[in-house]
């Protein structure tokens, strides 16, 4: 920093920005392609020469896609919304309680539970999809909302993030509440949770994005009554006679909600990562 103003450092800075701009364009390219394809006529997409700016715009694609009953985008979005919101709320509540317990149980049991959580972290749910699927189908939960949500809402990762965060929570606040006669349950909800909104926002965002974008678990569980947007897009993509514009219009409506959530909560996510103890 001490060399600010010298010619070589100005040159380096110029190169840095040039590189950043080039990379930014590359990173945004897929988003542009989704938008271009969602508002193009099919002839534009399959034209021999790639058209950066479509010659034939078609603003009716979105409307036709929503109206396509066979595709049932509206139903898929609804299933995805139910599943993602449900999974986010339940995962956060369960993991908040467990993370707090692991941070405060300072006996052997606490250490064992922390060890189990860390081990579960190493063997991710995707790897054991088959056993969990067998259990879920035994419960009769195939093609149901509980089947989509319940088996995947016990997140060792979320528990671990909350535990790390609660380890540094100021004990004086809890002690003050305890002296006032509050039991751990009410201390937790009245003192600890309101002062932990940052990490809750971070874990909630991560969970919501993961749930909305999930593919493998819905592929196993969801059928006609619970098909999520990702599954619908996947089936549509691999089917014969792909309608490119409608498919990308579907991708657009699948991406928009989660990108909006992401942009609003990004700050929490970054702050959460910084304090989470993933170092």
């Amino acid at each position: 920093m001490s060399m600010v103003g010298s010619r070589s450092s100005r040159l380096t800075r110029g190169l840095r920005y040039l590189l950043l701009v080039v990379l930014a364009v590359l990173f945004l390219l897929p988003f542009y392609v989704i938008v271009r394809n969602a508002f193009s006529d099919n002839s534009t997409i399959v034209a021999a020469r790639w058209q950066w700016i479509p010659k034939n715009w078609d603003v009716g694609v979105l409307g036709r896609m929503f109206a396509d009953e066979q595709l049932d985008i509206v139903g898929s979005l609804w299933h995805s919304a139910l599943q993602s919101v449900g999974q986010t709320v339940l995962t956060v509540v369960i993991a908040l309680l467990a993370g707090y317990a692991l941070a405060r149980l300072d006996n052997r049991l606490g250490r064992v539970l922390t060890g189990v959580t860390l081990f579960t972290l190493m063997v991710p749910a995707a790897v054991t999809f088959l056993p969990t699927f067998v259990m879920t189908s035994q419960l009769g939960w195939v093609d149901s909302l509980p089947g989509l949500v319940v088996p995947v809402m016990f997140s060792a990762f979320a528990v671990y993030l909350f535990r790390q965060s609660f380890l540094t929570f100021p004990a004086e606040l809890e002690e003050a509440a305890a002296i006032d006669g509050a039991n751990p349950w009410s201390t937790f909800w009245r003192v600890v949770v309101p002062n932990s909104m940052g990490i809750i926002g971070a874990v909630g965002t991560i969970t919501f994005i993961g749930a909305w974008n999930a593919f493998l678990w819905p592929l196993l569980i969801a059928r006609d009554n619970t098909r999520t947007i990702q599954l619908t897009l996947s089936q549509f993509m691999t089917s014969q006679g792909v309608k490119y514009p409608e498919l990308f219009a579907g991708a657009l409506v699948a991406v928009v909600p989660v990108v909006v959530v992401f942009l609003f909560l990004q700050r929490w996510l970054v702050a959460g990562v910084e304090t989470s103890g993933i170092k």
Binding site: L20, I34, W50, L97, V127, T136, S234, A251, V258
Partner: protein
Amino acid sequence: MSELTSEGRPQTGLLPNGQRPRPVSAWNRIAGNQGRNLWFLAFALPFVAGLLVFVYIPIGWSAYLSFFDARATVHPTKFVGLANYRYLLGDPMFRSSIGTFVLFAAFIVPVTYVCSLGLALLLDGVRVGRAFFRSVFFIPTAVSYVVAAMVWRLSFFNGARFGLANSLLRSVGGENKAWLLGGDNYWYWFVVISLRLWLQVGFYMILIIAGLNRIPQDTYEAAAIDGATGWRKLRWITLPQLRTTTVAVLMLLLISAFQAFDEFFNLFGAIGSYPTFARPPLVHLYLLSLGGSQADLGLGGAGTMIVTALIVIFGLAQNWLLGRSERKESGTMRGSRP
């Protein structure tokens, strides 16, 4: 065991018992001050019960099924010993799926790490527009593998002439490539790696930025006085100080490479069929156990056991390697000090 029987009455510890000195009985040690431990146990109960019902009992059940001929049933009667394991380990497709994972991980783990570190360092050196660029690199994290696979498969790397890559190739005098058809060409690896890179590099960049922010500024100031710049600064200050972040990032990358399913399935799959190449373990396991007309849960169970064992072994091996290089490094550092 007494914790369990006591759960019916967690209120026992609630009685406000004033300042009277209490004898510390075994019960009090277990229950904790004012029954706090019982409360915390109750807090952890939903999570622990969930793990038990949806992770550990199913894994145990799967281990049991793996010793049976369990086609389309979860209550098998025909014990087959290690036959399922023997079949899988002798199956060239299963072995090649392990090879696919090793190759995939060998590329994606270091490449993602280097790119994330590069982006983090690039952003570290700028002030104006920093938040904007950070968001741009971070935002693909919000996109699903399904949507990314759609863009990569149908637009960027479409084998037809209208794919972006093929259009660019032709404009510089090249010929159309069938990017995803496999066979003798390995270009599909480029498609797979670039997709995952785009989607996950921003997340690890954020982790590394957090790590960079924890490096005390005066370390750099001291180095600047000594005349250290550029590569030397990176090699001797930034990277050693970033070591814990690096270990965590590499571990997370390895675990996520092992879970590869979505992008492979959506890049290469067609209705009811999947090519014989580009099958990472989970894709193969899915096709093997649930992809056919009847579920083979015995074979699937054996596959789950093998894959789970592999991820634990790979994780431990990587940890050990990183730990060893750290020990070596701290050894040389100590040795070189005057």
